[in-house]
Symmetry: C2
Subunit: 199 residues, 2 copies
């Protein structure tokens, strides 16, 4: 396995957060190795326990492993740039969420938010297991819907590439140049006490 | 501090997920104690490092602590049921997200999903620190928007109550009866290999 860069090597925080949150990042270099069924299911199992409004669990994950008959259909959903590095993934996942509650058919206000919560558990569990988990918006949402035969009450949220870490040399030059944990806005930019001042 | 129930006391999994994911749950019983500024900021700091599309970090958290001048305005956003137990919270948070990218003004497809990811990091960090973190949909979204003077390009996603754990006796009878980690759908219900069969 190549050197596993930790976010804390290039990121700093003054607050006592657990290493997990600052160390996790979204690499692109993967080895092309497969995952066992159990390795993959363990990530979905972590997602399973996320909280959701009314405990409705609106998330539904569709996946294709690299050697399966479904891989080409999932792979072709992505834009060319994402194909250039996810070709070495072990699994591709389309995250969807149910937009209406099953118990009453009414709009589920937080279905996308809740799906994001479930994804984050998956991403953190993946990090802990030493796997690459990288979410993407760069794919054709409409094609994903038709490819999956997704029922109308579901919405496509994101795709995820999952795999074993690879040496950055597998990436093309431009992508390899970005293969490092990204920075963030300051805490002051994302947290505000009380309302904004009336304009 | 009251007995801190862990999810794994009532939940089971056959897969080797880290305890964090199955142990975390969303209690309602809080003690009414305050948090230090640092305790609260530590949770937002964990959220800060979540991934997002184009690393846009669309999340913005508005908060009111229980002794602050802003508390009443945040408290009155919630439905009566949520007020009945969040009255003992140390902080109330309104999670919002930016619906368009700052770099080009175009719709940010995953803004709610990304905000959910950031929330999940906050919730897990809170759990690790021994704090109650409980997200809610039960509040007036329009009133939240006007109370916060939220700019048009932001969307209200959810509210969060954060506090120190309390004895369940602080809850009313009906709520106390629900004060236990909730179950989840089976893995088979939320994970699917390949597309759905064409109807």
């Amino acid at each position: 396995m190549p050197k596993w860069i930790r976010g804390s090597e290039v990121r700093t925080t003054d607050l006592l957060i657990d290493a997990l949150f600052i160390d996790r990042w979204s690499p692109r270099a993967m080895s092309g190795e497969e995952l066992t069924h159990e390795e993959l299911m363990t990530l979905f199992e972590a997602a399973r326990w996320a909280p959701s409004s009314y405990n409705a669990q609106p998330w539904k994950f569709f996946y294709a492993t690299r050697r399966s008959e479904h891989w080409p259909a999932f792979f072709r959903l992505m834009v060319e740039f994402n194909q250039s590095w996810t070709k070495n993934a072990a699994a591709l996942v389309v995250v969807t969420s149910r937009t209406v509650f099953e118990h009453n058919g009414k709009p589920a206000q937080t279905h996308s938010f809740d799906a994001g919560s479930a994804f984050m558990s998956l991403a953190l569990q993946g990090w802990i297991k030493g796997l690459v988990v990288h979410a993407m918006q760069g794919f054709d949402y409409n094609m994903a819907r038709s490819t999956l035969n997704l029922p109308e009450e579901f919405q496509v949220e994101a795709m995820i590439a999952i795999g074993k870490p690879g040496d950055p040399s597998v990436l093309d030059d431009a992508t390899r140049g970005r293969e490092t944990p990204s920075q963030r806005k300051s805490l002051a930019e994302i947290v505000h006490e009380g309302p904004l001042l009336d304009a």
